[in-house]
C-alpha cells in the first residue's frame, strides 16, 4: 500500500467530494463515461471477505473512486448523479475545502475559473426593490394579457427635438441633414458571448432563436455576437440585421467581417465597442488554449494558444480619443448608417465616461452599455471575478441621473447587465432597471441557464474556462458540444423570451404604462433606507 504523507493532495482539499453507495451500484460505468472532468474512475479495492466460504481471504471489489488531483477534480456538476440509474453516486460540497490555497501553493499561479462570481458579499439590491406604485383609482391599470403594449426601445443616438434637422420643401417636411441612425429594438439583448467562449452549437442556437423571434414572433430582439469572429455566411445573410457586431481589444474576426462587407445585403443591427466586462473589469478577454478549437483558430485567425485580449484598446489613452477613433471609425465603417455603442464595466468612474460621451459633438455615440460585477465570464482569474467590479444598480442610476441633471436623458440610450435573473426573475430585474433609467438590458448568463447550464452562483461547476463544460454550452470538445440539442435550446430561448414578454407586460400594466417606463423610478419603492437614499426612490416599510 502506498504511503500517505501530509503534503500530498487529499480528498479533503478538494471542493467537492463524491459520495458513492456501493450497495446501489450495478457497475454500469456510466458515471465515469459521463464525467467530462475525469474526476472519477473505476477502481479495484482489496477487501477482507466476510462471506462464509471465503472468510478472512482477500477479495477484489470493483468500485467508483474519486480522482485526487489539482487538474482533474470534481466540479460538482452532477452529471454522474444524472446518469446513474440507481442514485448510487453524487457530488457533495466540501465546506472545508482547501482547494484555493493548495492550488496556488502548488502551482505558483493565479487560480482561474469561469462562470460566476461566488462570494456574493454585495447581496442583491434589485431584490430589495418592489414595484410599489400601482395604478388603481389614480389612473387605470391596463390588462396585461389583452391590451397592446409598446415594448420597443431606441438603440442609437437620439437627438433632442430642437436638434432635429427638419425643414420644409414646399409643403413637405424633409431632413435637412442626415439624422444619426436609430433602431427600435426589444429591450432585451442577447449578451455578447463569443464563438469560442461558447460552443458552436450554443452560438447557433442563440442565432436561430434571435432570427425566429424576429421573423416569426415579431419580437425585434437583437443578439450581440461577442468578439470571436462571425461565420461569413451569417454576415452575408439577411439575419445579420439582427446582429450587433462586437469589437473588443483583440479585434478577433474583423478580417472576415471586412472581407464580407461588399457582399452584405443588410446592415448589421449595430456595433458594440467592448471596453470592459463586468465579471473582470480592467482585464482583457481570456480564452484558454484548451478552448481554441480548430474552427475557433480559423475564424479568429489565431494559433492554438491562450488568447489574451489586452485590457484596453491599444492606442486609446483617453475618453476623448476613444470617441474620436473607435466611434468615428466604426460609424464610418458602415457609412454612418449603423448605430455604434460602447460597453464598459460598471465602475466608480462610469459616470465620468458617460458625461464625456454625452457631450458627443458628432452625434455618433449610439448607446452606453454598463456591465455589473455579477456578470458571468468564460474565463477569469478568480481574484478578478470575486473581488473587482461594481454592482450594476447604483451605477446605472448614477449615469441616468447625471443625464437628467443636464436635461439629456435618453439621448444616449443606457443598457444594463450583470447578474440579471440571479434570484429567479429576469423580467423583474429588467423592469426595475428600466424604471431606474435603463433603455434596456442585456444578458448572457440567462441564456446559459436556459440552455441547461448546471452551474450556480455558489461554486457549482463554474468550469466554463476549461472547455469541458458537461452541458456542451461552453465546451470546445466535440463530443461534449454534441451533447447540446440545438433545436431544444433555440426553442427554450424563444419560450423564455415569450415568458419574459408576458411578465414585462404584467409589470407595465399595473403601473398603467403601455410603453416602456424608462426612468419611471416613481414606480419603485425599496424596503431598505440606504438603497432609498442612494437610488433616490421611495422608502417603504
Amino acid at each position: 500500500m502506498a504511503a500517505v504523507k501530509v503534503n500530498e493532495i487529499h480528498k479533503n482539499d478538494l471542493p467537492w467530494i463524491i459520495e458513492y453507495d456501493e450497495s446501489k451500484c450495478i457497475q454500469c460505468g456510466k458515471c465515469v463515461a459521463a464525467c467530462s472532468f475525469n474526476a472519477i474512475r473505476p477502481a479495484v479495492e482489496l477487501r477482507k471477505s466476510n462471506s462464509i466460504t471465503n472468510k478472512g481471504k482477500t477479495e477484489r471489489v470493483l468500485v467508483i473512486k474519486q480522482n485526487i488531483s489539482l487538474d482533474n477534480y470534481c466540479r460538482g456538476c452532477g452529471m454522474c448523479a444524472n446518469v446513474c440509474p440507481n442514485g448510487a453516486i453524487k457530488a457533495v460540497r466540501n465546506r472545508d475545502d482547501k482547494y484555493s490555497v493548495v492550488y496556488r501553493a502548488v502551482k505558483a499561479d493565479s487560480f482561474k475559473k469561469g462562470g460566476r462570481s461566488n462570494l456574493n458579499t454585495e447581496g442583491r439590491t434589485l431584490d430589495k426593490i418592489k414595484i410599489g406604485r400601482i395604478s388603481q383609482m389614480t389612473d387605470p391599470s391596463l390588462d396585461a394579457q389583452r391590451h397592446t403594449f409598446e415594448l420597443r426601445t431606441p438603440f442609437g443616438r437620439v437627438l433632442k427635438a430642437d436638434k432635429l434637422n427638419f425643414g420644409k420643401e414646399g409643403e413637405a417636411l424633409i431632413e435637412t441633414s442626415k439624422l444619426p441612425p436609430n433602431r427600435w429594438i426589444y429591450p432585451v439583448i442577447f449578451g455578447d458571448m463569443s464563438i469560442g467562449a461558447v460552443s458552436w452549437r450554443m452560438w447557433e442556437a442563440m442565432a436561430i432563436a434571435t432570427a425566429y423571434l424576429n421573423e416569426v414572433m415579431g419580437i425585434p430582439i437583437r443578439m450581440c455576437t461577442g468578439e470571436g469572429g462571425i461565420p461569413t455566411k451569417l454576415l452575408k445573410s439577411r439575419y445579420v440585421k439582427y446582429m450587433i457586431l462586437q469589437i473588443a481589444s483583440g479585434h478577433f474576426g474583423w478580417n472576415r467581417i471586412i472581407k464580407a462587407m461588399p457582399d452584405m445585403t443588410e446592415d448589421p443591427a449595430g456595433i458594440l465597442i467592448k471596453i470592459g466586462q463586468g465579471a473582470k473589469p480592467g482585464d482583457g478577454g481570456l480564452l484558454l488554449a484548451s478552448k481554441v478549437a480548430r474552427y475557433v483558430q480559423e475564424i479568429r485567425g489565431v494559433p492554438k494558444a491562450d488568447l489574451l485580449s489586452p485590457p484596453t484598446h491599444q492606442g486609446l489613452y483617453s475618453i476623448e480619443e476613444s470617441v474620436q477613433k473607435m466611434f468615428l471609425s466604426m460609424n464610418a465603417a458602415f457609412n454612418f448608417k449603423v448605430p455604434v455603442a460602447i460597453k464598459v464595466a460598471a465602475s466608480v468612474t462610469s459616470v465620468s465616461v458617460y458625461n464625456n460621451l454625452l457631450r458627443d459633438p458628432y452625434n455618433i455615440v449610439g448607446g452606453f452599455f454598463l456591465d455589473g460585477l455579477a456578470a458571468g465570464t468564460g474565463a477569469a482569474h478568480e481574484i478578478s471575478l470575486n473581488h473587482t467590479g461594481h454592482p450594476i444598480t447604483s451605477k446605472l442610476r448614477d449615469c441616468y441621473l447625471a443625464a437628467v441633471h443636464q436635461g439629456r436623458q435618453g439621448e444616449i440610450p443606457l443598457f444594463a447587465g450583470g447578474g440579471l435573473g440571479q434570484s429567479g426573475s429576469f423580467a423583474a430585474d429588467a423592469f426595475k432597471l428600466i424604471c431606474l433609467g435603463a433603455n434596456g438590458v442585456f444578458t448572457g448568463r440567462m441564456l446559459m441557464e436556459i440552455a441547461g447550464c448546471v452551474g450556480s452562483d455558489t461554486g457549482k461547476c463554474n468550469a466554463c474556462n476549461t472547455g469541458l463544460c458537461p452541458a456542451g454550452i461552453a465546451a470546445q470538445n466535440d463530443n461534449l458540444v454534441k451533447r447540446l440539442d440545438v433545436d431544444k435550446v433555440a426553442q427554450n430561448l424563444v419560450n423564455y423570451i415569450l415568458a419574459t414578454d408576458i411578465e414585462l407586460k404584467k409589470l407595465m400594466a399595473p403601473i398603467g404604462c403601455s410603453s416602456l417606463p424608462i426612468g419611471r423610478s416613481d414606480a419603485l419603492i425599496t424596503v431598505d433606507k440606504h438603497i432609498s437614499n442612494r437610488l433616490d426612490i421611495q422608502y417603504g416599510c
Partner: protein, 347 residues
C-alpha cells in the same frame, strides 16, 4: 295612465335620487308608463319592476349617464334624441331605444335585452358583452359607427354596426376594436381597420343573413328610419367578426420548422466543423466517447477479467486477441481498472 315628470321647474332641478325614488313610488302605486323630461339625471329606467310583473315603459328626453342601466325584462325605454355614456350598462332584459347617438361605453357589459341606437356610439361600446345560455343573447344595434376599442373583451351576444353614412371613415369600428374578444359576434357594414389580432373577419352565411333581415326591419322601425332598409340589407358590404379559435391564434411554425425551412441548410458552422446534428447521450458509444480503451497484446495475460466485467459486453475475445466493440463501449474504463497488468489503457 301615463305619469309625466318634468324635472326642471323654475330653475329648480330635481335630483337623481328624488327622481328615481319618485319613479319607484309611482310604480308601487300601479303606474307603468312614464314620460320623463329629464335634466341629466342618471340611471333612469334601470333596476325597476312592477310587483305584478306588468311591463314598464319610459319615454325620456335629455337623460344623464347610464340610461337603462341594469334594465330588466319587461322594461321598454325610448330616448328621444341622444344619450350620454353607458346606455344600457349591464342591461339584463330591457329594450332600450336611443333615437340619436349613444355615448361612450354604450351596451357595456350588456347580457340581455336589446339596445337600439339611431346614431353613433362612442369608445369602448359593447365592451364585455356577455351571453348567459339560460337566456336570450343580448343584441346591440347601431345605425352608424362605434368609437375605438369597442367590443373589447366581448364574450357573448350579438352586435350589429350598420355603418350608415360612414363612407368617409377609415374604419366603422374605430381603431383597436375587439381586443381580447373571446365570444359573441359583431356584424359590420363598411370598412374595418385596426382590428385586434385575436379575431377574424368572415363572410356572412345564410343564418347570418336571415338574422339581419328579420332584425333590421324591427330596428329601423324603432328608430324611425325604415327608408334605409333596402340599402342596409345589401349584404355585399357586410362582414362578421368572430374570435379566432385558440388553435389558430397560436398557429406559428416551431423553431425546428423555422430551422428546417429558413435557416442555413448545412447549419451556420457547416463549413467549419463536422456536425450532423445528432445529440449525444451523457454516456455515449462510438466516436462520441470521451475516452476509449486501447489493448496492448504484450501486457495481456489472458485472464478474461475485462471480458467478464465489461458492463456493456463490449469486450470480445477472438483467439487470444481482445477487442472493444466501438458501437457498444461507452468508455467507462472498467476493463482497464480490473486488468491486473494494465493491458487496457484509456486514451
Amino acid at each position: 295612465m301615463t305619469c309625466k315628470i318634468k324635472t326642471l321647474n323654475n330653475n329648480n332641478r330635481m335630483s337623481t335620487q328624488e327622481l328615481l325614488q319618485t319613479i319607484s313610488r309611482k310604480i308601487e302605486e300601479g303606474v307603468t308608463d312614464f314620460e320623463i323630461d329629464a335634466c341629466g339625471q342618471h340611471d333612469i329606467g334601470g333596476s325597476c319592476w312592477s310587483k305584478e310583473g306588468k311591463p314598464l315603459k319610459f319615454t325620456i328626453t335629455n337623460p344623464g349617464q347610464r340610461v337603462g342601466a341594469m334594465a330588466m325584462d319587461g322594461t321598454k325605454i325610448v330616448v328621444e334624441g341622444s344619450a350620454p355614456a353607458d346606455v344600457g350598462w349591464l342591461n339584463s332584459g330591457g329594450e332600450i331605444v336611443v333615437k340619436g347617438d349613444g355615448g361612450d361605453t354604450s351596451a357595456h357589459c350588456a347580457a340581455g335585452g336589446k339596445i337600439y341606437i339611431g346614431g353613433r356610439v362612442g369608445t369602448r361600446s359593447g365592451a364585455l358583452m356577455k351571453h348567459d345560455p339560460k337566456f336570450e343573447p343580448p343584441e346591440f344595434w347601431v345605425l352608424k359607427n362605434t368609437g375605438s376599442f369597442s367590443f373589447e373583451f366581448m364574450s357573448g351576444g350579438i352586435a350589429v354596426v350598420c355603418g350608415d353614412g360612414c363612407g368617409e371613415l377609415p374604419s366603422v369600428l374605430g381603431n383597436r376594436s375587439c381586443v381580447g374578444m373571446v365570444g359573441g359576434v359583431v356584424y359590420v357594414r363598411g370598412k374595418v381597420e385596426g382590428l385586434a389580432n385575436c379575431v377574424e373577419k368572415v363572410k356572412l352565411d345564410k343564418l347570418d343573413k336571415d338574422f339581419l333581415k328579420s332584425g333590421m326591419e324591427l330596428f329601423l322601425e324603432k328608430i324611425g328610419r325604415l327608408e334605409l332598409k333596402d340599402e342596409l340589407l345589401d349584404f355585399s358590404k357586410w362582414v362578421k367578426i368572430i374570435p379566432l379559435p385558440k388553435e389558430l391564434k397560436e398557429k406559428k411554425i416551431s423553431v425546428k420548422e423555422f430551422k428546417e425551412k429558413e435557416w442555413f441548410k448545412e447549419g451556420l458552422f457547416g463549413d467549419l466543423v463536422e456536425d450532423d446534428g445528432a445529440v449525444y447521450e451523457l454516456a455515449q458509444t462510438g466516436d462520441g466517447r470521451l475516452r476509449k480503451p486501447v489493448w496492448d497484446e504484450k501486457l495481456c495475460v489472458g485472464c478474461d477479467l475485462c471480458l467478464s466485467n465489461c458492463p456493456q459486453k463490449a469486450v470480445i475475445k477472438e483467439d487470444k486477441t481482445y477487442k472493444s466493440v466501438d458501437e457498444k463501449c461507452i468508455g467507462c474504463g472498467i476493463c482497464s481498472a480490473v486488468c491486473p497488468r494494465e493491458a487496457w489503457r484509456m486514451v
